[in-house]
Symmetry: C2
Subunit: 416 residues, 2 copies
């Protein structure tokens, strides 16, 4: 599938932000995208397109990450996005500088932000219960989950941009034949997780607190996230300190940060009510979530097999909740921090956002379109996640987050 | 206790690295310390003291963190430390520039590194078993612990330098009278954890692997670490994803990074053997640990009450093990990353490195020197951790890591 098949994700209704380079713009810099074209924002700034945006530093779009732009806060991002929409709307007379607009096929996308801290939450009750059953053999809601979204501290430095290969990790895990025997070697149960994630814009200072009501002012935008998971490594380590090497090897995100302004037309009441909740989690907005469909496909033998279609609105906890729960302890949030939803699953077999759930931890193999059988991912397999809100005519999408599995290293290769 | 009472920690046998500012050096920059004096390293570099250190960038000691210096690797740090020892040994003719040497009482210490990622492990079997009993009511070694050190991803952005106040966090926890009732408010069971931590120097590239045998080349040095813990918040959230808000609010470290070269004279065989282990954890060095004593005191009413004396050598897993276990999955390690030992406890009541263990989760109150009774920490209480190896004449120490508890904010103060 070529990159421009996502043109309808990036109509003028979207105007996401990202970081790109090209032969004509070798230094990674801030961009937006309209259909099949990427637009370098510094050229528009030079051209005066953002003259009405207050306090925009002259060099803000020349930087190799969006952190400083995002840190300016919601008002600045809204103003820049609106100015781009005005300049590029069908009846506009604006002529952008020739070198500012590049076909998307001719750019390389980079990490949109430098990530200071990454927390991955669990917002989906279906996922939490299904995963608990697959790992611990019992369907149960964990003690904290009715009160707030559960989460773990993820690894920031191994978050990579879509299309970066994913190296199968080495680790220790229980033998499948003798549970008391612990083996060391390449992960045997490599999985994906279908997620969305907020990227923080305006920071929350350490020692300050922020609540669900403050969230939209601090969320710069949303990306797709694949929390690659080594189920066997995770299974041995998870008690009692939670995930570490089962998750830390790689996390992939999509390159385009879709703003809450772009998602606003798709805001809807949360289907799952989470009241009564603690005061910091109370959402004053009757529209607690977004109507947004996510799809995961496994890629093998040149064919894509759809393995999951899930909706954000099924989740028990929202973006505002995960923002507030991370912030309430006073740790502070930095621009570029990532706060993810965890796997977004539903109630049917077609709506399970990871293979752990879909195969019940390897006990229900499934067939791919190329005829091969899987329980977990094999070397050479890819996973593609997409997300879209609305109709093809008026919708807003995320493009894709894709990764292909490379074989594990062997210990003898050692360290650089 | 005045800062210079640690003079014997910082004899010429130590030569740690840190970041300091003073009225004469307002921009934070790299320093070392000899007894009661702090020495700005850029002035020594200008003076040619490091002429034999290969590849030392001219501005490396002018920077506000040690990351770039640490990234040069063990050989550079060893060479710089040796050159300082040569220049300042008793029979040296070297006269440092007048403005390079400042009394320690006249400097402010800053975070020594920018921390990209922080993992806190559990190296002490006594702690793991005691803490498990205190929280879950059962003495048991977790399934993974015999095979490798367990760990969780900590929060990087809330790691602060010693003397930074610690704000009591808000969060949700079980009512002590009705276990099914979950309350929201200031943490009631605030605790410290007595730990050491490695700071990574030479990075491990993402996708590469590194083993225990590689560790000493990548560890820049060691600091004291207090992993402040909200036991009640942690107790509700820990199943199944591990610590998040129970830990994320603040972590304190000591300002002086003590090198492995300084600790080398105190290297000893590990008292607790951890063989057989997976190949990446095999330590080819017969001296697996360091003979190092750590002390924790609770400060209240102007008096210090010693609550723990523990030895690093009691731990089941070593610095080399936690380095290797973090690296083996291929996530990479960055310069400035922190990898901590977890609470270092022993077998006696005087050697329990946190109040959770010492009070059996609040069931065994104890008396402070000022006559007051504690189970956990109250507002205004301080905790001071120190660490020292060797005798007062030839020893090497870490100085102190101290923090005083400030009251929680209330929700109405809201967000900046």
């Amino acid at each position: 599938m070529s990159a421009d098949s996502y043109a309808h994700h990036f109509s003028i209704a979207n105007i996401p932000f990202g970081i790109a380079s090209s032969s004509t713009h070798p230094a990674p810099a801030a961009v937006t995208r309209i259909r099949d074209h990427v637009i370098f924002l510094d050229a528009l700034l030079e051209d005066g397109v953002f003259r009405n945006t207050k306090g925009l530093p002259r060099n803000v779009f020349q930087q190799s990450t969006l952190n400083n732009f995002a840190a300016l806060g919601r008002e600045s991002a809204t103003s820049v996005r609106t100015a781009i929409q005005q300049a590029f709307k069908p009846d506009s007379n604006y002529k952008p500088p020739l070198n500012a607009v590049i076909p998307v096929s001719q750019v390389k996308m980079h990490m949109p932000v430098h990530v200071g801290d990454f927390t991955d939450f669990s917002c989906s009750e279906d996922h939490v219960v299904n995963a608990g059953e697959a790992v611990f053999g019992k369907r149960a809601v964990p003690p904290g989950f009715p009160h707030y979204p559960l989460g773990y501290g993820g690894r920031s430095s191994s978050i990579v941009i879509s299309e970066t290969p994913v190296q199968r990790p080495l680790g220790q895990y229980r033998s499948k034949t003798e549970q008391d025997n612990v083996l060391f070697g390449p992960c045997q149960d490599l999985d994906y997780e279908l997620e969305l994630a907020c990227i923080i814009g305006k920071p929350v200072r350490m020692g300050d607190i922020a609540t669900a009501a403050d969230a939209d002012e601090h969320i710069f935008g949303v990306v797709l996230l694949n929390d690659w998971s080594a189920r066997d490594i995770l299974g041995l380590e998870i008690v009692p300190l939670g995930p570490l090497n089962g998750k830390s090897f790689t996390t992939s995100i999509s390159p385009w940060v879709v703003t809450l302004d772009a998602l606003a037309p798709f805001a809807i009441p949360a289907a799952v009510h989470s009241s009564p909740v603690a005061p910091y989690l109370e959402d004053p907005n009757p529209n607690g979530t977004y109507s947004l469909e996510l799809t995961a496909e496994v890629l093998s033998g040149g064919l894509a097999t759809q393995v999951c279609v899930a909706k954000l609105e099924w989740a028990r906890w929202s973006f505002r909740h995960i923002f507030a729960h991370q912030a309430i302890g006073g740790c502070g949030l930095g621009s570029g921090d990532i706060i993810a939803t965890g796997t977004l699953s539903g109630k049917t077999l077609q709506a399970l956002g990871c293979l752990l759930e879909m195969t019940m931890n390897g006990k229900r193999p499934f067939k791919l379109k190329d005829g091969s059988i899987r329980t977990f991912l094999e070397d050479g397999d890819g996973v593609r996640i997409t997300g879209f809100a609305g109709t093809p005519n008026d919708g807003v999408g995320f493009g894709e987050c894709v990764g292909v599995i490379n074989p594990a290293l062997t210990l003898s290769r050692g360290v650089q």
